[in-house]
Amino acid sequence: MEHAHKEHPKYMRIFVILIILTIAEVGVVYLPFPTVVTALLLIGMACSKAAYVALYFMHLKFEQKTLTAIVLTPFVLCVFLVFMLLPDLMAGDRHTGMTASTSHTVETSH
């Protein structure tokens, strides 16, 4: 058990993966993909980078699975948060009263 704890994963491999993903992210921005494809690729790569950092550098992969469940809670809540904000965003798309009142507030504050 004590010995197993001292066996560290190959950090340099994770480092190389993170650097390659960072270069790929910057590259994707300049490629002529449709905006949705670029956005999905960028979010996908950012989440994989975050997962590599959490799993290997923060050793989440080697902890008890309960900790992973605890750690995933805020991300589930963040997804809820985005869905709660969606009606506001869709109102913005349709240029309804919501956006009008928002822009009015911005104008008066200047």
Partner: protein, 208 residues
């Protein structure tokens, strides 16, 4: 009779199941979870503001992507030196741990220096809390969202550099050994989280 009292006594004693090591680690994880919620809320608010704005300046035209890609590289490097510091002390190598912690602090300080340079550059070019550069059109909410999110992250890096320095000083005094090093691991959790958040900020604020 004697045996009964012993049994009663043992039933009264509550043995804490969290050891100092695991309690500290769990505490840091819980703090990081709540901190992740703060960053999640900031990024979600940024997304909502941007999506409901009539016009939003493309970040790649206002911000310098190559400089911040370099800052991402720097934070990833400092994460590696942090994890190498933990590996060193778990193998009982105190001087190697201190050298790695020193490099991690250096990475954090250079990151802060680059962020100060970036902010100064942007402010002198017209991106302030209330204005956009003259040649760029779009919502003036670009500035406040940008400075709030990167500033909140920069505050975390500053805190991390102080935290790293405290642990380094303790390390130089010989506090940590192969048997006693959970505080180095807990420090690592915080520092890697700051790196993880920057990965998200870099994607959502600079690239998208």
């Amino acid at each position: 009779m004697e045996e009964t009292t012993t049994l009663d006594h043992s039933a009264d004693v509550y043995e804490p199941s969290l050891t100092p090591d695991s309690l500290g680690k769990l505490g840091m994880w819980l703090f990081l979870i709540s901190d992740a919620m703060s960053f999640g809320a900031l990024l979600a608010a940024y997304g909502a503001i941007r999506a409901s704005a009539a016009e939003w300046a493309p970040p790649s035209e206002v911000l310098g992507i190559y400089l911040t890609a370099g800052m991402t590289f720097l934070l990833i490097c400092s994460s590696v030196t942090m994890v190498k510091a933990l590996e060193a002390i778990q193998n009982g190598n105190q001087s190697r741990m201190c050298a790695c912690l020193g490099l991690t602090i250096l990475g954090g300080v250079i990151f802060l220096g680059l962020q100060a340079y970036e902010w100064t550059h942007l402010i002198t070019h017209g991106l302030t809390f209330t204005t956009l550069p003259h040649e760029i059109s779009g919502s003036t909410l670009f500035g406040p969202t940008f400075y709030t999110i990167t500033g909140f992250h920069g505050a975390h890096v500053t805190g991390g550099v102080i935290y790293l320095t405290v642990i380094l000083i303790q390390g130089l005094r010989g506090t940590y050994t192969a048997a006693y090093n959970h505080k180095v691991e807990i420090l690592g959790l915080y520092w890697h989280f700051v790196d993880l958040v920057w990965i998200m900020v870099f994607t959502f604020v600079y690239l998208l």
